[in-house]
Subunit: 345 residues, 2 copies
Amino acid sequence: MSKHIGESTVELTSRPRISSWSATAGQKENEGPLGHTFDLILDDDLLGQNTWELAEAAMLRDTVRRCLDKVKLQTTDIDMLLSGDLINQIMAAHFCARELSIPFLGLYGACSTMSESLALGGMLVDSGAARRAVCAVSSHFSTAERQYRSPLEQGGQRPASAQWTVTGAGAALLCGKEYIPEAVKPAAALTHATIGRVVDYGVKDMANMGAVMAPAAADTLAKHLRDIGRTADYYDEIITGDLGKVGRELMLELLSEKGIKFDPKRVWDCGARIFSPEQDAHAGGSGCGCSAVTLNGYILNRFAKGELNHVAFMATGALLNSTSVLQGETIPGIAHLVVLERDLK
Amino acid sequence: MSKHIGESTVELTSRPRISSWSATAGQKENEGPLGHTFDLILDDDLLGQNTWELAEAAMLRDTVRRCLDKVKLQTTDIDMLLSGDLINQIMAAHFCARELSIPFLGLYGACSTMSESLALGGMLVDSGAARRAVCAVSSHFSTAERQYRSPLEQGGQRPASAQWTVTGAGAALLCGKEYIPEAVKPAAALTHATIGRVVDYGVKDMANMGAVMAPAAADTLAKHLRDIGRTADYYDEIITGDLGKVGRELMLELLSEKGIKFDPKRVWDCGARIFSPEQDAHAGGSGCGCSAVTLNGYILNRFAKGELNHVAFMATGALLNSTSVLQGETIPGIAHLVVLERDLK
């Protein structure tokens, strides 16, 4: 049973458990600082498929399967799959869902989709609508480049504020308390979700997504803390994704302007952390897969090891399409936040 | 508090109420048999905007506002907006949400989005996560033609199985029982939702969306009846959208093959009904807006007048994008079903 708190926050009173999690990533991601935390590294980022789009769908499907295999569940044990990606009309999610045959809810939140799916999945499991739900998202460097940017063959120079789309997929299994598979120890419980609104500060530069998303991230975090009556230091870590280095700095500035006190060492960004400075990824990683693999690798592994107790996870999205950019429109952003708590019961 | 029933159905035990509803449509839709049921007909399908995309966003935003105005609510009275459309990266929904500033959940279910949003919104209101939620979707003939099909200027001939994208937007306000505005009489209660899975029968013809969606519709309806232990004749009407004339015939055939007994006069399709045969729309209407305006005009008005008691509303979606079609992929389909019951309390 959920409880609406304040302006935009929902308390998930039954504390849905993240009972399995899995991350798949590409070679470049493997070479970054978080590479050792992913379950599977792709040898071939085409996965033997004929197109990048089918490759992304196959990566997402295999990640969901691995997430279920880990706790010996079948697709038929899952009531709902909540999923989305960046390809037009979320093609990867649909082609993945076609093979898995789990009742499917298609989401689009750009790079915020990992936390959107956890927020929605958490609410559905909390209410009893779903006993078990899988939240899964992906992105692929080559499908994103084809769709959003100059052809790779053109070899255009990337500005320092640009981010690099992560090739990766993450899946998390949410279970109601009575539906946790036997002998499985969940990594964390979902206790709250704060649903973001669409915020637009007038940025038009699609090579500066960090600046687009930072205001939405600051807005959602400020609202979350106010709704729930907590200060930022309640959280061991506040993790955003994927603001990148430029966006992270802007968000910290905006938080300070709003009078929010925080320890900047405990506020970090998936996009700023996934690649090392030597990897030529400029402002960092992006794409739904960026926060998804960081959550379903690095973050949840640390929960499982007992290294984390309270985390605010907030994936962020830039809400553009190629038409809106060509038409000269500004780019709005969004951020959704979920609270992960170590599950001690 | 929700209850998962059978394979894919959720019972919404608190019966969220549809407390306001609004539909906006274009001139061609106004000239069809349902024209008299829409709240507003567009004089200018650009709505004074510079682009079709901004026009669609403005239409969607104004439809949500009108839905709230009717029951004297402000946007700040709404906990969540669940919305989607057909433009890449659901641009209309995002640009609409940017102005409304309601906490936003972006959905993509192609033309099934009206029932996807009602299913999700219903579950969120049922659980207490949202006290009031607005479910709103749109489509626009000119944004869809630009994105999915040959340029209009080319004047290519449309096959008889082709459908015509509806210019229209629909919005429905869902309220928890204690949050129905004073003196407002809801049209209907949402009692069940059946979440569809992605089904693919191998159709590749994007001018025959009815054939793509019919198997998904038959699958979801069959599952719904089995989950809930009802026969089709429980429902006054079973309403699909937007299979069109070709898809409707195929669905009826598939239902008969599955051994489901029904009265074909009580199973009708929004796409097949929205235009008259003289309107040169071939197999009928399509687009998220097709089922949305039919629901938020014709169907809910009839509930309000006491002409309907039990309805299964099932919007259907064809899950293609322009890349997948060019790559020669088959087109999967999906259908979600919600049950509307006359609210006698």
